[in-house]
């Protein structure tokens, strides 16, 4: 809504005052970013962190781009409107970088090794980039195998629980007992049951993703309006049709809630799952660096993890909007 109003507002200005209009927020943001760049190179680090020059170059380039945008954004159409919408965030980021630089590297109020200036994190990517890249791939492999096998089993189990009274009778109490137990509590048992630690790690991730999907799918299937089944049965539907064409699509909104929960849980246990004798992976990297007080590396890795998680959540939202477009106007 605010988005639309802003878009209307800026559109109106653009036509009224043509290209002469200057985006003031952009100038303020450029100022903050430029200040960060200057402070980073002009003042010495209390303890050297490395990559200060690169960070100054990046923030300086950011300032230059923001300055250019300040004079041209009104001619950029829809993309320009998005940029204007995020103007306050650009300012906040610039100020945040500035304060962060000053309080860590420049004044040492927040000391090494517990805190790192932004260029300290940047330095981690520069120095340890290739290894982090390998770690990302290992983590994605573990997460992908665990998450997808977990939600597949969870979904099938959920449909069975929601559909069949007998499966519900035996399965639901078990699920309710297992559900609240943290997936990590199974580690001792998994070591015994699985041939490799990698398989055990996959199981831990799968369990954390599967349980919320199973519970929410079951509640979705069992709460489907009975009248839908009556209608479908009078139209000649058999049980197979009722499950696949009525129960499952009708319960998809619940399933997606479960998927979002599964995503968060699986990411949360990822670090622990990678404790189990992994040789690479972001979780393993975090623990390894923690042991050597490499907190800058820990922070830098956490940023990577949250970016990956946010990206996957975005994908899940896109999938949901495609599959559940019919819900518009109902919710």
């Amino acid at each position: 809504m605010t988005d639309a109003i802003q878009a209307l507002g800026s559109g109106g200005y653009a036509s009224a005052e043509s290209a002469a209009r200057i985006w003031k927020a952009g100038l303020y943001a450029a100022l903050a970013w430029a200040a960060t760049a200057v402070v980073t190179v002009a003042l010495p680090d209390v303890v050297p962190w490395g990559s200060a020059g690169l960070f100054a170059a990046i923030t300086g380039a950011g300032a230059a781009i923001l300055t250019a945008l300040a004079f041209s954004v009104s001619r950029l159409g829809r993309a320009g409107e998005r940029v204007i919408y995020y103007g306050p965030w650009f300012i906040a980021l610039g100020i945040w970088f500035l304060l962060w630089e000053v309080s860590t590297a420049k004044l040492g109020w927040l000391p090494k090794p517990f805190f790192s200036p932004p260029h300290g994190l940047l330095n981690v990517y520069v120095v340890d980039g290739p290894r982090l890249l390998v770690c990302i791939l290992y983590t994605l492999r573990l997460w992908g195998l665990g998450f997808f096998s977990g939600i597949a089993v969870g979904f099938i189990a959920g449909v069975a629980l929601g559909w069949s009274a007998r499966v519900d009778y035996w399965g639901m109490p078990v699920l309710k007992l297992i559900g609240p137990v943290p997936a990590t509590a199974w580690i001792p048992a998994t070591f015994y049951f699985f041939p490799t630690t990698f398989a055990a790690s996959i199981f831990i991730v799968a369990l954390s993703a599967g349980i919320p999907v199973a519970i929410l799918t079951a509640s979705g299937v069992s709460s489907v309006n009975r009248a839908f089944y009556d209608v479908a049965r009078t139209l000649g539907a058999d049980n197979r049709y009722l499950v696949f064409k009525i129960a499952i699509p009708a319960s998809l909104p619940h399933v997606f809630v479960g998927l979002f929960m599964a995503l968060y849980y699986s990411f949360a246990v990822l670090v622990v799952a990678e404790m189990l004798g992994a040789k690479y992976g972001l979780g393993w990297y975090i623990q390894f660096q923690q042991a050597y007080s490499g907190y800058a590396n820990v922070y830098a890795t956490l940023i990577i993890m949250s970016v990956i998680c946010a990206g996957i959540i975005k994908l899940l939202f896109v999938a949901r909007d495609r599959l559940l477009g019919w819900q518009k106007g109902i919710l």
Binding site: N225, A227, F228, D230, V231, A232, R233, T234, L235, G236, A237, D238, Y241, K245, I246, P249, A250, L252, L324, G325, W326, Q327, K328, G329, I330
Partner: protein, 262 residues
């Protein structure tokens, strides 16, 4: 019984015989008698309205006729064959359109054909059914985009696409505004005349029953028994203010124990 002759000739319809049907529900440990010895013979192609107070078991009779439930006593026969399970030859239209919200109008109507594996060969029947209820331009709309009347027309098209020989209508217009209801009553009537199915309509609207049906069956309070049977011999289209219908209405209301002065 002037209409009996006309009704016999209809090819795409069946008879429905209800023999000494009694039914009850278990409600929190108590047995709730709903139907008590219902005896009813609906001829092929006939339009019969079931009239009675709400909660009197009219809808239960439709569920039994659809095969969604089995009666506790007695039997229901479709063309002499016992009704034991749902069958697409008998289709129930509910008071709520009960459209599948995740399916477009076209796919809602296609449900019956798809469920029976007939869709690939009979796609045109979906389009025909939509044309029949004048909704072909809404084929790709989702149910939440439809008005109440349009949604109920989709529900009727979803029933008709299966070529039902017996259409069971459970207060199909009960939730529509009065203007929409009038036009829907006319549409149902013209569909019935055009397609030729046997129709069993549950309603608590005396006027609706008298406007549409060949025969009006009045039910008592629960447990329901048939208290009156009124033949309506007037040809369609009927006028609401027809003095004979007004007189019949008074008579029906009197049998139901309601004064028409209200």
């Amino acid at each position: 019984m002037a209409l009996a002759n006309e009704a016999v000739a209809r090819p795409r319809s069946v008879s429905l015989d209800v023999h000494a049907v009694s039914h009850a529900y278990d409600l929190e440990g108590r047995v709730l008698d709903v139907l008590d010895g219902i005896e009813l013979a609906v001829r092929p192609g006939e339009f019969v309205a079931l009239l009675g107070p709400s909660g009197s078991g009219k809808s239960t009779l439709l569920r039994l006729a659809a095969g969604l439930e089995r009666p506790r006593a007695g039997a229901l026969l479709e063309d002499g064959q016992p009704i034991t399970a749902p069958d697409p030859s008998r289709i129930l239209v509910f008071q709520d359109p009960t459209l599948f919200p995740w399916r477009t109008v076209w796919w809602n109507v296609a449900t019956g054909l798809e469920a029976r594996g007939l869709l690939a060969k009979h796609r045109h029947r979906v389009d025909d059914a939509l044309a029949l209820v004048k909704l072909e331009t809404f084929a790709n709309a989702y149910p939440h985009q439809l008005s109440g009347g349009m949604a109920q027309r989709v529900a009727i098209a979803r029933a008709l696409v299966n070529d039902p020989q017996l259409l069971l209508l459970d207060e199909p217009f009960g939730k529509l505004d009065s203007l929409t209801r009038l036009s829907m009553q006319n549409e149902l009537l013209s569909l019935w005349e055009k397609v030729g199915f046997t129709a069993l309509l549950v309603t608590h609207d005396v006027e609706e029953a008298l406007l549409l049906a060949n025969r009006v069956i009045a039910f008592s309070d629960r447990p329901a028994r048939i208290v009156a049977e009124i033949a309506v011999d007037k040809p369609h289209p009927r006028r609401r203010d027809d003095p004979e219908l007004v007189e019949l209405r008074r008579a029906v209301l009197a049998t139901l124990g309601i004064s028409s002065d209200v």
